[in-house]
Amino acid sequence: MSTLATPPLDASPASNPTAPDRSKLTKKILVLGATSGIAEATCRIWAAQGAQLFLIARNADKLAAVAADLKTRGAAYVGTAVADLDDTDKHAELLSHAINSLTGMDIAYLAHGILGDQPRAEQDFEHAAQILHTNFVAPVSLLTWLANFCVQRHAGVLAVLSSVAGERGRKSNYLYGSSKAGLTAFLAGLRNRVDREGVTVLTIKPGPVNTAMTAHMKIRKADVNKVAATIVKAIDAKKDNLYVPGIFQPIMFVIRNIPDRIFKKLNL
């Protein structure tokens, strides 16, 4: 087990008061898609709390940069694995390795996803299927394994980044939106199944957040650090659903309830 794991950081509490050593009880958190903007900002908060983290991402250089940052910020342990999460056949092996390295898991945080190219997806089914696979099929595979792991232990939080875009399909991004709608529906069902087993499922629905994924969008975007702080609080409070920023809860209520005879004429 320890041969598989990245060696824990030798952080002496005297020099680094915010980083307790690994023998103390700190959160054990598995992060999928750890180099995404929201995931990285969230991990910085957990690192400062002295959490133990296992990070999975596709790009080795970016993953190494994020891991070094989180270690320096005070994470009691940072393990990493480079993996393409589209490859569902590898999920079981990957997840068991990650949880072995962490010696347990309190929180799984799923933050990987792609925005995709809506105009391209309208012409190219391969691309449409790619968006659905990365944002919906792969998370279903991961969450099925992780939920069963948590159910066995009657504990754990599964925190998953969905999106307000999944609340209603709009012409500007309905492939991304439908992948997230599927994910939101899956999470609702999963919560209904596992809540009675002591497992929390948190569906996170961010509005546009200022990260690399939305850099090209010229709209008002939420500050990623504030979004991350809200997510950490919602996980600690074992919430079921989180709109972030909170204003999107009433906004999406209105958008969901516009009749289609009007909605279909709108440019959204």
């Binding site: 680094n16 970016k62 070094a68 940052d69 690399a212």
Partner: protein, 465 residues
């Protein structure tokens, strides 16, 4: 079918359309003058450069938080590579205090990390909203220049990446010429991807503060000699008053408190200057009133107190976007260093010129630079008196005055600070910085700035307004 009819229509529409209004520039310098349009590309990872420029023939310039005042962080019609997403820590050694971080991290982010661990910046400017890379590229200085030198003195090494993809580790011993060219090199020698910074230990957020009123440059110089043991010293100066109040000011001293105190991180600033003030808001009367209130605020001629480091180092950071106070037109700063030989006569002559000009301006900053040499070939500090002052932009008045003040600075053997400049002429720049031609050989062929184009322009074109 419908495509074939739609296509020519689209073309006609595009051709007939008037030039689209580019709108306000996406990126402004702190002075908000000049205003240039540029494309902004974010660099979020160390590997993003030079890939971000692939296929582009535009010139580019790495920029951080845009806190330099003039055009040193602008590039008209070019590409700005904004580094603020490259803000990760890489390593921290509490034994030596050496922090290694990506160059887009801000000094505010460094403080949030370092202060709870009992460390502080070795040198800090008057705002914490600058990036590590920007602090190196402008070789910034702080209130402790006499004992600490400029920022570059505390940067043991960094990585420099050129647009051709070559990477150099730069330190005093490795690639020393690239090290010297990049410190104070205005971002022109390549992209600094990461750097090391030697932090200093502290035991408290507190600053043991003393504020002493003075009248005139002689009293300022006396105080400077009398209190030479303080780590930090700076003076606020009233540049509007004439007669018996000419060059009155407050001499401010500080040392990190020696009594252990709380080391929590700073709260987020809550005040935001909400709108562009109208042009008439800053006038001789309002500024005089402000200066008088400020001078007498401390009530006595001499006060001692313990202050938090935030108001001591970053009084203006408490109000985000305070530059809006100067209105849409923006502000320009005038900042010089004059060597000791002519420092007193030069400062008095320049202050008189400013006071007589009637161009209202807020409190100015006066301090002494020490003799610790800067490591950059283009660094600004030199042993003597440093003075900085903001001017509102008044068409036909501000720039002729700056021209005159620049020439006076030159006559007294001093120099102006590129990071604060929007007005120096090529002739002035090339005299202030005699190494500029040697420096030019280290410039990355893909990188330039509007400042560099302006001050190396042999036609001597002057700024408008």
């Amino acid at each position: 079918m419908s495509l074939s009819t739609a296509e020519p229509e689209v073309l006609t529409t595009t051709a007939a359309a008037p030039d689209p209004d580019p709108g306000p520039p996406q990126f402004e310098s702190w002075g908000r003058y000049p205003k240039y349009n540029a494309k902004v590309i974010p660099l979020n990872w160390q590997g993003d450069f030079p890939a971000a420029l692939a296929g582009s023939h535009d010139s580019a310039l790495p920029v951080g938080l845009g806190r330099s005042y003039g055009d040193v962080c602008l590039l008209k019609d070019g590409t700005l590579l904004q580094t603020t997403g490259m803000n990760r820590l890489i390593d921290f050694d509490p034994e030596t205090g050496i922090l290694t971080a990506e160059a887009g991290i801000s000094l505010a982010q460094i403080l949030d990390f370092a202060v709870p661990r009992g460390f502080f910046l070795p040198v800090t400017p008057g705002t914490k909203y600058v990036t590590l890379g920007g602090a190196i590229a402008n070789d910034i200085h702080g209130k402790n220049h006499e004992v600490a030198g400029s920022f570059g003195c505390h940067v043991p090494c960094f990585e420099l990446v050129r647009s051709d993809g070559t990477r150099r580790l730069c330190s005093r011993t490795e690639n020393p010429d690239w090290y010297a060219a990049t410190i104070g090199g205005m971002g022109l020698t390549g992209l600094i991807t990461w750097a090391q910074l030697r932090l200093r230990p502290i035991v408290s957020r507190g600053i043991d503060y003393e504020g002493i009123q003075f009248h005139g440059i002689d009293e300022f110089l006396d105080l400077k000699h009398q209190y030479s043991q303080a780590e930090y010293s700076v003076s606020w100066l009233d540049c509007v008053s004439t007669g018996k109040n000419f060059a009155r000011g407050i001499f401010m001293l500080g040392d990190h408190a020696k009594v252990p105190g709380e080391l929590k991180p700073s709260p987020e600033p809550r005040l935001v200057f909400p709108f562009d003030a109208p042009a008439f808001a800053l006038n001789r009367i309002s500024v005089s009133l402000f200066n008088t209130v400020f001078f007498h605020k401390q009530g006595k001629a001499h006060v001692k107190a313990v202050h938090d480091y935030e108001p001591f180092f970053y009084p203006l950071d408490a109000v985000l976007h305070w530059n809006r106070m100067y209105g849409k037109r923006g502000l320009v700063q005038f900042q010089y260093a004059i060597p000791w030989e002519h420092a007193k006569e030069g400062t008095i002559a320049i202050l008189q010129t400013i006071a007589n000009s009637g161009l209202a301006s807020f409190l100015a900053v006066l301090k002494a630079f020490g003799d610790i040499p800067s490591l950059g070939m283009m660094s600004f500090p030199l042993a003597g008196i440093m003075f900085a002052l903001d001017f509102p932009i008044k068409p036909g008045i501000t720039f002729p005055l700056l021209q005159r003040l620049g020439d006076m600075t030159l006559d007294y053997g001093g120099r102006l600070y590129p990071a604060k400049d929007a007005a120096m002429t090529p002739a002035q720049f090339q005299t202030f910085y005699p190494e500029w031609q040697r420096f030019a050989r280290f410039r990355d062929p893909m990188l330039t700035s509007s400042f560099w184009e302006r001050v190396t322009d042999s036609t001597g074109a002057k700024p408008t307004l």
